[in-house]
């Protein structure tokens, strides 16, 4: 029987399926409209806005100090880096030089945030491909970072530790010790991650060659963070536009060229190692000094436009402030990494199976509040 007869006899029909907004693999309230032929995905259309809070509009009414705490609620897994982004924008606009101590502490906390976010991602990645135990191992290690944060900042997730001009208060006396303990602990656990998941033959089969994103497409789709770097696109803002103390440390940008799901996985694992090394370089020589520079009680940015790029755990976060010289920004735009990374989902998921879509989505590491700002 030739193929045409098969096709006429067994006509396959495409059908719609709603993945989400309540679905275990969409990590929040993302809704995907899937067009499927059997198990093969023909089209993925994200439907957003289930938790849109219009942070950008709220920012137009808030003062610059108040904006910072709203950014906690965007990408809640790298909330400290988001805070830092707004603070850096305001400080640059005011041409305020923050003390070295602040810069170093911000960098350490930023890298801890990145590790914590990647820990959670690793656990969830395992869960998405069906290995439920990884979730608990990832969370166990993340919990230690959360403890460090809680002791120093008072909160575990939405820290609001940065203020324009520095930090809200100095680090806790236990901070250095706890961080060192964590590094020692985590260095023994990361090889376990590899044993449990990275080298696992099933996991490799599930991820290798799946969801391939070429370098050209990565740039065109505005992919950033580990998603872009897995495609061989050097897009680490920490390297290209270093901020805080990141110009003083040595680290390697995790680059892979395959561009598949496995490469994105490996890039994040390598990033955890790099973040550990960054923290190690800084933790022993936090300079003494002020933790905060006094600013006016009401911060007014000069007229003009200010743009600051930082590297969150998910990729490049841009803060674009248009100021007309009053206490609130005229327009504030967050260029969130998740939003651009989500836009390429349709491009890389088509042709795969439902299981591939889930694995691919896990390595895009979407945080929905980051997309639905």
């Amino acid at each position: 029987m030739d193929t045409t007869t098969i096709e006429t006899n067994f006509r396959s029909e495409e059908y719609f399926i709603n993945m989400g907004p309540q679905h275990p693999a969409t990590h929040g309230v993302l809704r995907l409209l899937l067009t499927i032929d059997g198990e093969i995905i023909k089209k993925v259309e994200p439907d957003l806005g289930y938790i849109h809070r219009s942070i950008e509009k709220m920012c137009e009414r808030d003062t610059y100090q108040q904006i910072v705490h709203l950014t906690d609620r965007m990408d809640y897994l790298s909330s400290n880096i988001n805070n830092e982004a707004v603070c850096l924008t305001v400080e640059n606009a005011l041409e305020l030089e923050v003390p070295d101590r602040v810069k170093v502490i911000r960098t350490i906390i930023g890298e801890l945030t990145r590790i914590s976010s990647h820990c959670l991602w690793w656990g969830v990645m395992g869960m998405d491909v069906g290995a439920l135990t990884t979730y608990f191992y990832g969370f166990r290690d993340r919990e230690l970072i959360n403890d460090i944060f809680e002791e120093t900042c008072g909160a575990r997730l939405t820290m609001n530790y940065n203020v324009p001009g520095g930090l809200m208060f100095d680090i806790h006396p236990n901070f250095v010790k706890r961080t060192k303990d964590f590094i020692a602990h985590f260095k023994t656990k990361l090889p376990e991650y590899d044993k449990l998941l990275t080298h696992n033959v099933i996991f490799q089969k599930r991820t290798k060659g799946i969801g391939i994103l070429t370098k050209e497409d990565a740039i065109s789709f505005g992919a950033s963070g580990p998603v872009g770097r897995a495609s061989g696109y050097s897009c680490d803002v920490r390297k290209h536009h270093p901020y805080s103390a990141l110009d003083k440390v040595k680290f390697q940008e995790a680059l892979k060229t395959e561009g598949d799901t496995y490469a994105r996985y490996l890039v994040r694992i390598q990033e955890m190692w790099e973040s550990l090394s960054i923290i190690e370089q800084l933790i022993d020589n936090i300079p003494e000094g002020e933790y905060r520079v006094a600013t006016n009680a009401v911060i007014k940015l000069p007229k003009g436009e200010f743009y600051q790029r930082v590297e969150t755990a998910r990729g490049e976060l841009g803060v674009y402030i248009i100021s007309d010289g009053v206490k609130s920004p005229y327009r504030l735009k967050f260029r969130s990494p998740g939003f651009s990374n989500l836009s390429l989902l349709n491009h890389i998921a088509v042709g795969g199976k439902i299981g591939d879509l889930v694995a691919t989505m896990a390595t895009l590491d979407l945080v929905i509040p980051d997309i639905d700002r």
Binding site: D62, Q65, Q66, V68, H69, L70, D72, T133, F136, Y137, F139, R140, E143, D147, E150, E151, T152, C153, G154, A155, T158, N160, V163, M168, F169, H172, E192, K195, L196, L197, H199, N200, V201, I202, A297
Partner: protein, 158 residues
């Protein structure tokens, strides 16, 4: 032959993975990360900077440090704090001055951003460690932080 070496390698990686979980299975009693929350209330201690709720400490003579300057009310992004004040007569100097009548705190709207405490010039409010704030009625979350009949601590305004 790569067919068989693939099988061998595959099984080996699977066994490595099983050794990791197996190790934790055997040592699980020691390393359990579960916190049996309501049972461990006696030993559960939050970190001293923990942001549970905003409180206003009073000394033993029922005095607080709030002058009613309303800086916290302005700093709050969500309208969590409402200060109801009037002008009272200062006992020592006999002058009219601002004093708080009620320091209303809507816990249900609070995002624990800490801007009010950061901005307070007299350290009148600070973070409380209590986090068990669930109630059946939302109105119970609206609190008056200054105790009835409380006064301003002398010397705070200097």
């Amino acid at each position: 032959m790569s067919y068989f070496s693939d099988i061998y390698k595959g099984i080996k990686t699977l066994l490595t993975g099983m050794s990791v979980t197996g190790k934790y299975f055997l040592t699980s009693r020691k390393g359990a990360i579960t916190q049996q929350y309501p049972d461990n209330r006696a030993t559960l201690k939050m970190f001293d900077r923990f942001r549970g709720e905003v409180i206003m400490p009073h000394d033993e003579e029922n005095r607080h440090r709030c002058t009613g300057c309303q800086k916290c009310e302005i700093a709050c992004p969500n309208g969590t704090i409402e200060i109801i004040w009037d002008r009272g007569i200062d006992e020592e100097t006999g002058k009219k001055k601002k004093k708080i009548d009620k320091f209303v705190y809507h816990l249900s709207m609070c995002t624990m951003c800490g801007l009010c405490i950061d901005v307070c010039p007299t350290d009148a409010i600070e973070w409380g460690q209590n986090f068990e704030n669930s109630v059946y009625d939302r109105t119970a979350l609206t609190r008056v932080l200054n105790k009835p009949g409380s006064k301003l601590m002398p010397g705070v305004e200097d």
